[in-house]
Symmetry: C2
Subunit: 204 residues, 2 copies
């Protein structure tokens, strides 16, 4: 029997676009979609659990893993490290499980290089004004971070053409519908089905 390899769904966005909320909702809608928990050196925010939302690591531990080539992608965002451990990701894909990754734009670009068949989804806020408001509401950092965050978000929005899909997060329900549709549709793509139904020419 040929076992189908899983598909990697990479959801990426400038901060403030709402991707973490959307990914949580999509996982509820598509329960067989595995989730790759990212590693980070930033401190947990309210309610975040180690091993569930992130693997919270010290800077030393992160750098050690990075130097040993354990990350499929890693990046520095606002002075903190973020990364995806390669081994658990590979194990899930090898088992044939589709995997959702919630990562920043630098990480998405690195993954595209290693996984050219990955499906890249970009989330944007409906406008820069809306994005600014969302970042101000979150405000877990010093106020003077805002200018830097907004400049970075503006640069990142310009990258949308490098992605396969664009979802404009005007409304959580509609955006979750769209990301869920992308997952269901990609599972029907004939280019991905060749291994799953190698004998489809003679279906009975």
């Amino acid at each position: 029997m040929i076992r189908r390899r899983g598909t990697l769904f990479v959801v990426s966005a400038p901060s403030g676009a709402g991707k973490t909320t959307l990914c949580r909702e999509v996982r509820l809608r598509v329960p067989d979609l595995a989730y790759s928990v990212s590693a980070t050196t930033r401190a947990p925010r309210g309610g975040e659990q180690d091993g569930v939302d992130f693997h919270f690591l010290s800077e030393e531990r992160f750098q050690d893993l990075r130097d040993r080539g354990e990350f499929a992608e890693w990046a520095t965002v606002h002075g903190r490290f973020y990364g995806t451990l390669a081994k658990p990701l590979e194990a899930m894909l090898h088992e044939g499980r589709d995997v959702l990754l919630d990562i920043d734009t630098q990480g998405a670009a690195q993954l595209r290089r290693w996984y050219p068949e990955a499906v890249l989804v970009f989330i944007v806020a409906p406008s820069m004004a809306e994005l600014e408001q969302r970042l101000r509401e979150r405000r877990s950092d010093a106020e003077d971070d805002m200018t830097r965050r907004l400049r970075r978000a503006r640069e990142e929005v310009a990258l949308w053409r490098r992605y396969d899909y664009l979802v404009i997060n005007r409304d959580v329900k509609a955006a979750v519908d769209q990301i869920t549709a992308i997952v269901l549709a990609e599972r029907c793509r004939t280019v991905r089905l060749s291994l799953r139904f190698p004998d489809l020419e003679v279906p009975d």
Copy 2:
């Protein structure tokens, strides 16, 4: 203002796969999806309305339109003509409307040549045994047609790799979910969005 051109969704299947029922349900779920009414020389079946389900034409009228190049695609299926009139289809796409077409495999192959950007969806019954049962239940033709229909269906199933998406019609609800997901997902593809949001780089 640049007006986006509509996307053409072509749903095709061997007869007995259930595509007409699925297309009707998908149109209820995606009300802004326009429908291209096919022309045919076959007689109406129970409840079918002229101009709604099909344009029912005499053989002479069909051949006249065909000879004048009015069809975007046409084919002979079980001795009857079927075709898509080019002008109304072009008008809908030009207005920016996404259009659903329910046509046979010969017509789908012709449309792919004229509309390389069309989205081709192939529907199959879960097995040849199931397909045979569905064809026998329908049985509007002489019993000895069955062998020919089944042979043709078997040849057509082998064409699945020429399509972008494959939907296995095990269950109407699940198959409609999948086709609807394909329509929603294709609307989010960045390659199709370039004209709709020419100014997305500077979103405010």
